[in-house]
Amino acid sequence: MRDEVDKVIKRIHELPTLPLVYKRVSDLLRNPYTSASDVAAVISEDQVITTKLLRLVNSAHYGFSEKVETITRAVSLVGMQAVKDLVLATSVMDLFHNNDEPGAWTVVEFWRHSLAVAVASSCIAEAVEDPHVEEYFVAGLIHDIGKIVWIEYFPDEFKDVLDIADSNRLPCIEAEKQRLGFTHVRAGRLLAKRWKLPERLIETIAWHHDPRLADKHPRFPALVHVADVIANAMHLGKSGNGCVPPLAPEAMEICGLSPSDVPHLLPKIHDAYQDSILMLSFWDASEKQEIEGDLSTV
């Protein structure tokens, strides 16, 4: 088991770094005098991210009545912080989209589940009137990023994990402990630290199964935890669990949710997920080639 753990840690250090554009946008946002056009100018230098970002902003998730044609307009509509988070989301999703599939569990299903948690997180944030709706969306989208390490480097071992979870009706994290001695939250935390992600995202990735352990931004892992449980319960995408993962009662208190919220919340999550699922289409291999083909002729 120790060998497996060492292998995992070594592999995490070999994973690709995030695109330079994310670091440059992060640096810009540390300066209070940065304008929307400064941010837009940096993003526009990366044509692939520009194209994807405009598609995201024009998706049903945002619901703008008119097409958003430029990054400057996108930044002014959704805000600089939200755009930075979306650059992160598009970059992460682009790094991992074309891998071997461990058994019946596909990378597309993984992203479907991640999108469901993102949508559920933003719906919950709206329901409890938390102003950071878009930040929760991105936190939900990348909460399970540690599983990418399994798909990328340990597909055979991860297939065993999925089989153990399925046949014993276990949460994926319990099957990981049995088979790998290392969990996706631990792998994800290492990866998030290596990428120097914001602390709220590191805590979400590290503690979304046990939000009591978060000490700086407990609301992020708590809210994403509830969203994760709900997305699993509703069968939105597949996360590798053999059952609905256990809901931590304290997460409900931290979020300010009650059972009476369910009848209003779940239909909204369901509809928002159906509206947003088209977002994933631009990670489809053929469409990716199409976008890259378009860009190469510019």
Binding site: Y62, G63, E126, V133, A233, M234, P246, L247
Partner: protein
């Protein structure tokens, strides 16, 4: 009937039953305003998250939707979901989620028959 909804769910043609007021006290839109594309965009740009609209159309309860499948099919759904949820379905919040998921599946599978 007045209902508070997220801005994302607001639609053109709905009528505000409460004014939309910013933190500084400025009224963005007054009560009785019929939402159109431009004022929906304005509310989103200003970071408004919730609006109160007149919505008399209450969604059918899951238990009503479940009538669209046979008893046998409903039993099968209940069994599958009971296994999927495990003992959690007996806890208060998850019991509500369980009820909704079963009702939703019964409705969908009833439609597909």
């Amino acid at each position: 009937m007045p209902k508070k909804i997220p801005i994302r769910a607001a639609k053109v043609g709905q009528t505000l039953t409460e004014p939309v007021v910013q933190d500084a006290g400025q009224i963005l839109l007054s009560e009785g305003t019929v939402l159109d594309h431009s004022n929906l965009d304005l509310l989103r740009q200003r970071g408004v998250m919730l609006v109160t609209i007149d919505d008399g159309d209450d969604a059918a309860a899951p238990s009503e939707k479940a009538r669209t499948v046979s008893d046998e099919e409903l039993k099968k759904i209940l069994l599958e979901e009971s296994q999927w949820f495990g003992e959690q379905r007996k806890e208060e919040f998850m019991a509500e989620v369980f009820r909704w998921v079963v009702g939703h599946r019964a409705h969908i599978e009833g439609d597909e028959r």
